[in-house]
């Protein structure tokens, strides 16, 4: 099952075609990847991924990852750049369908329904599993229309005032309301980078998805806006399931209950956030969180 095998000298041999940032294998048996360390299951799973492989063309980007995402929990995904965090996250709402060369193997279930089933409709799936992207991507339309777009196409509101309420509430939650309430008709692309990202967060939560995937939502935000988004994540956890990719260990520690550490397309370790940060069991995880790597 595992394609990374330690040889006698303890040097990791990388499987052919595995993509990722160049790194020097550490000659240490504790750094060999022998399946995922820790408990991949959640108490009350919302989404379950089993033996997922993702290929870009014939490059393997995600190698045999199994992971549960539990109800009312925030799971943080950390790992060095290029290790496949975004790729895995995008599998969860089939965003990878848009990439021609991308191929997903394995099984991912949302509430017992295999989302890669050929009969499954991606439109309701994406209404249920929303996503905030790594790069802010507001529509070149007004701020109001950006937020109102999802509720409009799904027919979530029956009147203009209801829609207004959703827009206001979503912008409030995303911590953007005060800055834009007087210029809702201005174009969303005219906002600053951080404001754009919060607009995208508002756009996602306006649809009220049950699972929210966030790909480094705070990478363009200042500490105040970051704190606001983290607060939001905490609030949303009560109703929703959240998977967040982040490069900030502090953020992972602050907002998540479980943490998954990815390395070169493999899931190295997963467990309670407290345990991962205080007592990592795998050598690579330890290297990463102590700053010896990445």
């Amino acid at each position: 099952m595992l394609s990374v095998t330690p040889n006698t000298a303890g040097v990791v041999t990388l499987p052919k075609g595995l993509v990722g940032a160049g790194f020097a294998p550490v000659a240490d048996e504790s750094r060999a990847i022998n399946g995922t360390v820790g408990d991949i299951t959640a108490v009350d799973p919302r989404m379950t991924a089993r033996n997922v492989n993702v290929y870009y063309g014939d490059k393997l980007a995600i190698n045999d990852v199994s992971l549960d995402i539990g109800k009312n929990e925030v799971i943080a995904m950390i790992g060095p750049s290029g290790c496949g965090k975004s790729t895995f996250l995008r599998c969860l709402n089939r965003m990878n369908d848009t990439i021609d060369i991308c191929r997903v193997e394995g099984e991912i279930k949302l509430d017992e329904q295999n989302i890669y089933d050929s009969s499954l409709d991606v439109v309701p799936l994406r209404a249920q599993v929303g996503m905030v992207f790594q790069k802010p991507n507001p529509f070149p339309k007004s701020i109001y229309d950006n937020v109102a777009y999802g509720p409009r196409i799904h027919g979530l509101t029956s009147s203009k005032s209801e829609l207004d309420d959703i827009v206001e509430e979503s912008l409030l939650k995303a911590g953007l309301w005060d800055e834009v309430k007087d210029r809702l008709a201005e174009t969303g692309t005219g906002l600053s980078g951080g404001q754009q990202q919060r607009l995208c967060i508002a756009r996602t939560i306006a649809v009220a998805p049950e699972v929210i995937l966030m790909d480094e939502p705070c990478s363009a935000l200042d500490p105040i806006a970051t704190a606001r988004v983290e607060e939001l994540i905490d609030e949303l956890r009560e109703q929703f399931t959240i998977a967040i990719v982040t490069h900030s260990m502090q953020q992972a520690a602050r907002v998540s209950q479980r943490t998954a550490y990815f390395h070169l397309g493999q899931l190295v370790e997963v467990g309670k956030t407290d345990d991962i940060f205080t007592n990592p069991r795998h050598g690579l995880t330890e290297d990463y969180i102590t700053g010896r790597f990445g």
Binding site: N137, Y149, G150
Partner: protein, 432 residues
Amino acid sequence: MSKSEQQQARTIDRVNTTLAQRYGRERRFRRFGFFAVVLGLAFVGVMFLSIIGKGYSAFQQTRILLDIEFTESVIDPSGERDPAVLSSANYSALIKNSLRALYPEVKDRKEKRELYGIVSNGAALILRAKVMADPTLLGSQAQLWLPADDDIDMLVKGYIDRTVVQSERRVKDNVIAWIEKLESEQKIGKFFNTTFLTGGDSREPELAGIGGAVMGSLYTLIVTLLLSFPIGVAAAVYLEEFAPRNRWTDLVEVNINNLAAVPSIVFGLLGLAVFINFFGLPRSAPLVGGMVLTLMTLPTIIIASRAALKAVPPSIREAALGVGASKMQTVFHHVLPLSMPGMLTGTIIGMAQALGETAPLLMIGMVAFIVDIPGSAMDPATVLPVQIFLWADSPERAFLEKTSAAIMVLLGFLIVMNVLAVILRKRFERRW
């Protein structure tokens, strides 16, 4: 001095030594670009000057002031005012009477014929139209400015040299004497030429107008636009957004690119074989012309539209799909509006090509001599470039200025289209 400071000094020195060279290159390139622009503008300027210089006089028409007596016995001897009689009456007799009264000294038969020739054949038609519109004119007398013959027109406009020997001149001495008499009495003058703008083609240069060709071009372009824009955009959207990437779509893509390079006359042959011979559509009709030009402009529009679609950042598509928009909604709500300016540019380029196209239209009979102004896309018609081609081929001196003037009208058409394109682009353009 530490090692790194030394290093830094060296970098600065190196930068300085190459700096002059770099700026020199930049200056040369800028000068070259400026020169290219000036050269281009100069060519355009020379072209415009020569065309306008030759063509402007076509917008003027020489007319002669004649005393016309609407003699009832000539036009309507029975006095019943029957429209059929009125319309077929001999109106040129009125003009001949008037001319004879003006030059009583002309007695000789041959000379009389020359005298009658100084007024255009179209003058009789003008009189007829007047009488048909208002039969009470009969029996009255009026002073009317009637168009002169094209040779007289050329003479008055100064294109015929009055000093060369008679045998090398289109207008004979006696005629010049008559015209000079008219000039001295101020009974001949130049007026704005409405006939040229509103009339159809004619064998008589002074009666020939560009109106028929303008209408023909207009109908042809409307048909082309109505067919090629929706088909082109739909094809581009399908190929770019929906079609699977496989051997078949690759083949289609290669073929579309090849079609763009096919000589346009081939499309004319195709139109002749398919639309006219097989489907039995009328010859010389703007409908068929528009269909043929659609074939020709489609590749241009499809290629430009696909490029415009490709230029829409994928992140916009992901954003829409991410909130649960369907493929169709993503394309129609976000991608298409963003690519519209590019698509419109492509369409305008295609339409400009279509406007200037001659060869394929020759194949489907739009080169015929057509006097009537087309009233619909099914009527026989010709188009501006074909009209230019026809006039350029005519031997009469007066058609030379018509040709240039027709080119001016064609260029005016193009300018209007481009302005329209700019306005449309501005309307659709969005910042992101």
